[in-house]
Assembly symmetry: C2
């Protein structure tokens, strides 16, 4: 006992591969991008539920749990949008390190911001970009939160698709058109991508 015990501060870490092997699947960020009303959050939550039912470790980051908390200090200027996405990318990376399939549902309108998140990934395949493609007029017709109406009246400035740009992905891993596909079809498409890509097996099983 005493001070001598403090000399041996041997650090051991439970690593990502330990956690993935224990869980039986890989971690990755499944990054949804698309206009407001395109269905990002709905699809992300349905994929989350499907993975949960399979006993996987998944989690959704979206406006509800991020914009009011961690990023509550940020607005919607281009600089704040970029910082918003940067932080979300870093948090997603922590969840991936913890072995999660983390689903992020944010408009994330700038290609450069999304590519930056892609590039901080630890391993190839850690970042799966899902383009939730839906024509503006369909999104505006849905307008689930009445935001397009407010954007058109000028009550909300810098609104993506109306008064701020949206840069569609050029090489998304997955594209789903929610004007033509049902929610179930989009979820099936994403789960199939994960299965075919080996995400739903642990790396130790694959070796």
């Amino acid at each position: 006992m005493g001070k001598s015990t403090n000399v041996v501060w041997h650090e051991t870490h439970v690593g990502r591969s330990d956690r993935e092997a224990r869980r039986g699947h890989k971690g990755a960020t499944i990054w949804f991008t698309g206009l407001s009303g395109s269905g990002k959050s709905t699809i992300a939550n349905e994929v989350d539920r499907r993975l949960y039912e399979q006993g996987r470790f998944s989690y959704v980051l979206d406006g509800d749990n991020v914009r009011h908390g961690m990023n509550g200090d940020l607005g919607f200027s281009p600089e704040d949008r970029t910082e918003n996405i940067r932080r979300i990318g870093e948090v997603a990376k922590l969840f991936v390190d913890a072995g999660a399939l983390v689903l992020t549902a944010f408009i994330s309108p700038y290609r450069e911001d999304r590519d930056r998140v892609r590039n901080i990934a630890d391993q190839p395949g850690d970042f799966i970009e899902v383009f939730v493609d839906c024509p503006l007029d369909v999104c505006e017709e849905r307008d689930p939160k009445g935001l397009y109406k407010k954007a058109r009246s000028g009550e909300i400035p810098n609104f993506t698709g109306i008064s701020a740009p949206y840069e569609a992905p050029e090489q998304a891993e997955i594209t789903v058109n929610t004007a033509e596909m049902s929610v179930e079809q989009t979820v099936d498409t994403i789960i199939e991508y994960l299965r075919n890509g080996g995400y739903l097996e642990s790396s130790s099983t694959q070796d």
Copy 2:
């Protein structure tokens, strides 16, 4: 098919209680605070390993994975330290919502900053403050990263305990004195607290 499918965007969420019931234990933030060299990170990683071996879902947030990533834009001024702790508290809250026992290992020198994290918790008992108590001279003698030497020479400004204040907790849930206890004893103390507090059973089991 077609646009009609988009009308029914029924949102379902897998909730925290679902995840806790599935895992068989509760989520909580175990917040370590103390001087540099007091042993926060070592203890947090050992508790993490112990929980991992028990099949629990735990994860460590510390300087290694947070300071260079999410909070890489922040320095060590009082304002930046406050923002550092605020963001870490919000990220820990996300992990708790995902059902994790998340261990945070940061000096977190200001009482007000730690209390703010305590106060954003969703449920009573979500925040467990662990004071890693160790006299400054012992920490300075250990000086595992050579930081005290640099702080004394003035090479590192605003160094907690030397040129910046440390405000010890007044009502920490757990206090461990690492000048007198071995790492194993401190880990035992924390695991026992979790067991006695019902954290290692799921809420559904308790009802």
